[in-house]
Symmetry: C2
Subunit: 293 residues, 2 copies
């Protein structure tokens, strides 16, 4: 019989697999990731002891997730989101030390290229019937509490019907999106509609998973921001809508109490006239603090 | 501000995610699998602390694996194979207690529907230039060491060029495949070609992964068997080729020393004449033992 035949089985897994990847993988970071992946993946399999049917079901599920991905749909991000992994990765990478505004997930609906706008503009290109006019307003500060000039706020949100512009063919491109740059006072202000809670797409395998797990697919209403300024950490965050019924069960585990903003009914004829809207209107005041990079 | 806002971050992950899935998932087995998955997945992420670029690379990799899957290619099985998971799942599900022949992985190249053949037939429909004629021969026993009648051996293998019939359009369907049923003596015998080592498909993301990890894509040569008999556990196994240079580094971690067979040069004019081949020929003697189900 041959010498040097390797025997693989439950007794020497994952050690034998780790030995192989550990010995052959040259790049240190790749090796670190592979060894950790193999360790935790084998622990999971040894823990749940899947039948062959269950293992094949997992293969079929992952294949369906892959097949659902195309240019405008990223089902693996949705899977990562709904398992809390995206939020965890975000948290790992953005410790703001209790000073800077907290980050939260980017989500799959950001498209670069929003139109540049003057402060006070409306990002509503096409109003929806249910949409309530809202003004978002505040100041971008640096970590010392000074107003930050030249900060760019890239904002986007879904409509009151729960769709982002690329999800709804009846919506103009970049509806409810805009890019604003702060002046010396660090202030921002723009007109929008109060964002509504909405379901993540459920017509794919991730929707099936949520269903099998008895979980709703809803996210509480939120306004997305990417705020950048030279010399500062990029801030990717939301303003969540105060009072939203899903603030305690965000399907993608991305809520943070520090990121909730209150849409207050505001009676201010002067500001309304300046912004070309009617008074009273809703107004959310929310300040951001960037951390040096 | 709103009450009941959940805060999610590295401090309470995965606990907060486990709490949600634990409370909502009704089916006990689904719950068990999901909680274990979330626990190990979050441990992996906390362990390697991926940058956002690395996390996105992982998403892109999994998406590419999914996109590579079609009717004849299953890249997620290949991924599971090359991480040792398929072999582990196999080992978990088929403890033969040191009595029955060991199982090993099914692999992605089994197609049901092989032609039924008489004992002594050749499974070679189209010979390859390099192919060495080989006779596979042995007895199927029950766990008490008695020959087992009525056992069906479903056999398949790649050609000496390393391709299975569905991978090579120049090969007839079910070339190097056959189904044999034992008589009272439990014996089986058929003619084939000595199987060669071959690479798993490397033109997809799993090939890229192996490459990044410095691993070759080779499997040692092997003959596949599924052996079934009423009242017995289905045996899915290989006969690995003695002396093969990849017996100590099977890229899918499926080798077992008990499954290595020796192809001996055999000078037996009578048997050669009976089998309609030339003498000398190669002959591998290998017995199987099934366990009651």
């Amino acid at each position: 019989m041959s010498v040097n035949v390797k025997d693989f089985g439950i007794e020497n897994m994952p050690e034998a697999v780790l030995e192989e990847y550990g010995a052959k993988t040259k790049d240190p970071r790749t090796r670190e990731i592979m060894l950790s992946l193999i360790t935790h993946l084998h622990s999971f399999v040894k823990d749940v002891k899947p039948t062959e049917e269950e293992w094949f079901k997992a293969i079929t599920f992952l294949t369906a997730v892959g097949h659902k991905c195309d240019d405008v749909r990223q089902e693996f991000i949705l899977l990562s989101d709904t398992l809390g992994v995206s939020s965890l990765v975000d948290s790992i990478n953005h410790d703001r030390s209790g000073v800077g505004t907290e980050n939260t997930v980017l989500g799959p609906f950001y498209v670069p290229g929003s139109p540049e706008m003057e402060m006070g503009s409306s990002i509503v290109q096409k109003a929806t019937e249910e949409g309530e006019t809202a003004v978002a307003n505040g100041t971008v500060y640096d970590n010392n509490g000074n107003p930050l000039a030249g900060a760019v706020l890239d904002v986007w949100q879904s409509s009151s019907e729960g769709f982002y512009h690329m999800q709804d063919e009846n919506m103009p491109d970049f509806n409810l999106c805009g890019r604003f740059t702060t002046g010396e006072d660090g202030k921002y202000i723009f007109v929008t509609e109060k964002p509504a809670a909405y379901p993540i797409p459920t017509d794919g395998p991730v929707g099936d998973m949520l269903n099998a797990c008895g979980r709703h697919p809803m996210r509480p209403g939120h306004l997305h921001f990417i705020i950048t300024a030279p010399g500062y950490d990029r801030l990717v965050t939301h303003i969540f809508t105060n009072g939203d019924e899903y603030l305690d069960s965000d399907t993608v585990f991305a809520t943070k109490s520090s990121l909730v903003g209150e849409y207050k009914e505001t009676n201010d004829e002067a500001l309304a006239s300046e912004l070309n809207i009617e008074s009273p209107f809703l107004k959310v005041d929310f300040d951001f603090t960037l951390m040096p990079s």
